[in-house]
């Protein structure tokens, strides 16, 4: 370390660092982050809350203060309840599928042999497609009359042309999920790969000597050792899933009926018709749910950052 110290000492002579940067208190280091988050995060949040306490008077064309009227409306709104259920179904199914697929594909691609690096690189490609564009991609592929995906679903008898995937209540959410799964499974693969690569080798070698088969090793070793990684992955992904908007907006507008209308999609629709206070209420309600659930999750699974 002495050479480093020499360099450091030499630097010290050349410039004198501002005093606060040489102190041991973390505050100066965190200051830019904190101010950024307060100005562009907390303030807008409070503003949104303030907005949610208003209602547009369409005749006088002003926003009137109405206390918690919007919140009352939201709790009595059947579509909010429906949207909540849709969002939960969406989030949970996407999480389970993406987690399972992600882990499986990560284990499949976790090899140092030639070519696997390229495969891993290719696997990340879906991540760079803007979600709005990915939604359009799948809309084109799932179109009931012209879509390539629909074509094969019909050809293999999985669906009938009479019941196109996005037009049928029972399958529409699956249709939207397909886009999400395609785009975000690679993200899970990346996280899981990171976890797998960081695992110690010794326990596996010892187990192999004891004659354990691969399933046993997966059950007894890989899974428990990865549990923390899985928890973090579920947290990060779950939060994003709960706010899902782009795919629904582009692919179904929440239809058929309101079968695929998630919380954010509903808020987005209200937003686009110009009722900003109610849209803010719905968005804050979503935030509240995420906040509470995430907090519980962190407590239960003892996630440490």
């Amino acid at each position: 370390m002495s050479d480093i110290a020499t360099v450091a000492a030499a630097t010290e002579r050349r410039f004198r660092m501002p005093r606060f940067l040489s102190s041991e208190h973390p505050f100066p280091w965190l200051l830019p982050l904190i101010s950024m988050l307060i100005v562009f995060g907390i303030y807008p949040l409070l503003y949104a809350f303030w907005m949610s306490l208003h209602q547009r008077n369409r005749i006088k064309r002003v926003d009137e203060f109405v206390w918690f009227k919007n919140w009352g409306t939201a709790f009595g709104d059947d579509r909010v309840w429906n949207a909540f259920q849709v969002t939960m179904t969406y989030t949970l199914s996407a999480l389970v599928i993406q987690l399972a697929l992600g882990l499986a594909i990560a284990m499949l691609l976790d090899s140092d042999r030639k070519g696997y690096g390229i495969l891993r690189g290719l696997m990340t490609l879906p991540l760079v497609v803007p979600p709005a564009v990915a939604g359009m991609m799948f809309l084109l592929m799932e179109d009931g009359s012209f879509g390539v995906l629909s074509h094969y679903l019909y050809a293999f008898g999985l669906l009938s042309p009479e019941r196109p995937i996005l037009a049928t209540g029972s399958t529409a959410l699956m249709g939207v999920l397909l886009a999400d799964i395609w785009q975000w499974t690679p993200f899970m693969v990346l996280i899981m790969l990171a976890g797998l690569r960081a695992l110690p080798k010794e326990p596996f070698e010892a187990a192999a000597i004891d004659g354990a088969n691969s399933w046993q090793m997966f059950r007894r070793l890989t899974l428990p050792m990865l549990s923390k990684v899985i928890a973090v992955a579920v947290l990060i992904r779950g939060v994003d899933l709960f706010r899902i908007f782009d795919y629904v907006y582009v692919m179904t507008s929440g239809g058929p009926g309101t079968v695929t209308e998630t919380m954010s999609a509903y808020a987005g629709r209200i937003f686009m018709t110009g009722n900003f206070p109610y849209a803010a209420t719905l968005a804050l309600l979503t935030l509240l749910i995420i906040f509470v659930v995430a907090n519980i999750f962190i407590q239960v699974f003892k996630v440490r950052f």
Binding site: R56, N57, R58, I59, R61, D63, R79, D143, G144, S145, F146, P161, E162, R163, P164, L166, A167, T168, G169, T252, S253, G254, G255, P256, G257, T258, V259, E261, R269, I270, F271, M272, T273, G274, N275, F276
Partner: protein
């Protein structure tokens, strides 16, 4: 509304001979198309930047079509517009043919003459609404001009400057030979007027007409349907006859929860003598005629329309027609040129006709509420309005007059690929008439459009709540019904519930 005296002044463009294409060889046909396209572009040679010479083709242009006042206009642009040189004006618009073409012409002609820069922001319709609402509520002054759909007129009426008043009050800025009477009167009343104020200048007029496959009609000896019953019967014959070819009789724009579904619904609601609101401003989609219209729609959707139609907006409906999957539709006339385009699978096979006459007769305007005009020819027009919050009112006003001037509007109709005209003079413009042949950007459907505007144009209610009802409550309820999520297929149950919701909202907003 006096259609009669209006009719007298209206020059109806001669119907073209649609079989021209079949009498000449394909090669000659395509050449002719190319020439027709270029013929108009001889004017455009300059406006397209003049990069490509059109030697030998100029003769095909019709230089006399450059309106007599054209040089006056140029002079006016230079002298009056030039004062505001360097100003930048902005507007936000949906990607409609007129707005896209106006955008291009603005850069290449208007800015050159005046030095006023024009920045057009193009976004999908529902985002235009959100952006305009933001601008108005925050008084941002982001936009100098608004693109306003007819269904938002009441919402934005106080936010724009009445163009006729501005024109009269400031003669210095008034464009020579603007000719307000040249605008189709029913259009102005239907799209642009709200409680006596002209919110903006009509700029785009998609209107519902009947479009059908002539070849299939010939094959099954079907007459052009003049009634709703005949329309369904034609749909049935074609759907049953063409089952093996995967061709359906009808196409809808029935995406759940989308404004397009609301448009579709009104066509058949009005088409069965119903109305959205009654004279007491109560929702009346649940009366007998309303239910009849909706049940008709349900049957049509279930039996004679591709099942994917409940995921389609106007885009999917257009696609189905252009790909030959559906043989008929009652929908936006602006689709028609696309079906005649080269990439279309039904080029030259499509014909247009007046929309079928209303079953039970048309409900009189006095019996409908909130300024609604019931009639089968649903219009989805829009205006450009001058923002009351604009910081560059003068420059924006000069641009607005130019964009809505006779010359520009006529060219928008041809360059825009056969976009329906707003001005009577556009129907007569030689450049427009020259395009009335089978081929890309055809204008051969303009006579039908013109007839529909003057005789069967339906307009949605004008009320500040309408944008929300039309984009949310109505299409969502319809979506739930049509896709079987709720109401067990009972149109009555769906409409009764909708009536409750709508009446409640109207009352809450203090509009009744």
């Amino acid at each position: 509304m006096s259609f009669k005296d209006h009719d007298k002044r209206t020059f109806v463009v001669d119907a073209c001979n649609d079989f021209t294409a079949r009498r000449i060889t394909k090669r000659d046909f395509l050449r002719k198309m190319a020439l027709a396209g270029v013929g108009f572009s001889t004017f455009s040679a300059g406006m397209l930047g003049g990069r490509r010479p059109f030697n030998g083709l100029t003769g095909l242009g019709t230089p006399e079509a450059r309106a007599a006042g054209h040089t006056d206009v140029e002079k006016w642009l230079k002298e009056v517009g030039g004062k505001y040189s360097g100003t930048k004006i902005r507007y936000s618009t949906e990607a409609t043919p007129p707005s896209i073409v106006a955008n291009q012409l603005a850069q290449e002609e208007f800015t050159k003459l005046t030095g006023i820069e024009v920045e057009v922001e193009i976004v999908p319709l529902e985002q235009v609404l959100a952006k305009a609402t933001q601008d108005v509520q925050g008084q941002l002054g982001t936009y100098d001009l608004y693109y306003l759909d007819q269904s938002w007129m009441a919402t934005f009426a106080p936010d724009t400057i009445d163009p006729t008043e501005y024109y009269a009050s400031d003669s210095e800025l008034a464009m020579p030979d603007f000719d307000w009477d040249d605008f189709s009167k029913p259009l102005v009343d239907g799209i642009a007027m709200y409680e006596g104020k002209m919110v903006g200048i009509p700029f785009d007029i998609p209107i519902a007409i009947l479009m059908y496959r002539k070849d299939l009609f010939d094959k099954y000896s079907i007459e052009v349907p003049a009634t709703m019953e005949a329309y369904m019967e034609a749909a049935r014959i074609i759907t049953e006859g063409e089952k093996d070819n995967n061709v359906y009789g009808n196409a809808f724009q029935a995406r759940s929860g989308h404004y397009s579904l609301e448009c579709d619904w009104t066509i058949f609601l009005w088409g069965h003598g119903g109305s959205i609101f009654n004279a007491d401003n109560l929702f009346s989609g649940n009366d007998d005629f309303g239910i009849q219209g909706l049940e008709y729609y349900q049957k049509m959707l279930a039996d004679y329309t591709p099942p994917a139609a409940t995921t389609w907006t106007w885009d999917g409906q257009f696609q189905a027609m252009q790909q030959g999957q559906s043989a008929m539709c009652i929908s936006w006339g602006e689709f028609f040129p696309g079906m005649d385009a080269n990439e279309s699978k039904v080029q030259g096979l499509m014909e247009h006709a007046r929309p079928p006459v209303e079953t039970n007769g048309r409900r009189p305007v006095e019996q409908a509420g909130f300024g609604e005009i019931p009639a089968v020819g649903h219009q989805g027009g829009s205006v450009i309005g001058l923002s009351a919050y604009s910081k560059n009112k003068e420059a924006a006003w000069i641009f607005m007059q130019w964009a809505c001037s006779k010359d520009v509007m006529a060219r928008v109709s041809t360059l825009g690929g056969g976009a329906s005209p707003m001005r009577l003079s556009s129907f007569e413009d030689p450049r427009v008439k020259e395009k009335a042949v089978v081929g890309p950007g055809t204008t051969r459907h303009f006579d039908t459009i013109n007839w529909t505007i003057n005789n069967a144009m339906g307009s949605e209610p004008d009320m500040p709540l309408w944008a929300e009802l039309a984009n949310n409550d109505i299409p969502v309820t319809l979506g739930k019904l049509l896709t079987g999520q709720d109401y067990d297929g009972s149109a009555k149950a769906a409409m009764d519930e909708l009536a409750q919701v709508v009446d409640q909202k109207v009352a809450d907003a203090g509009l009744r």
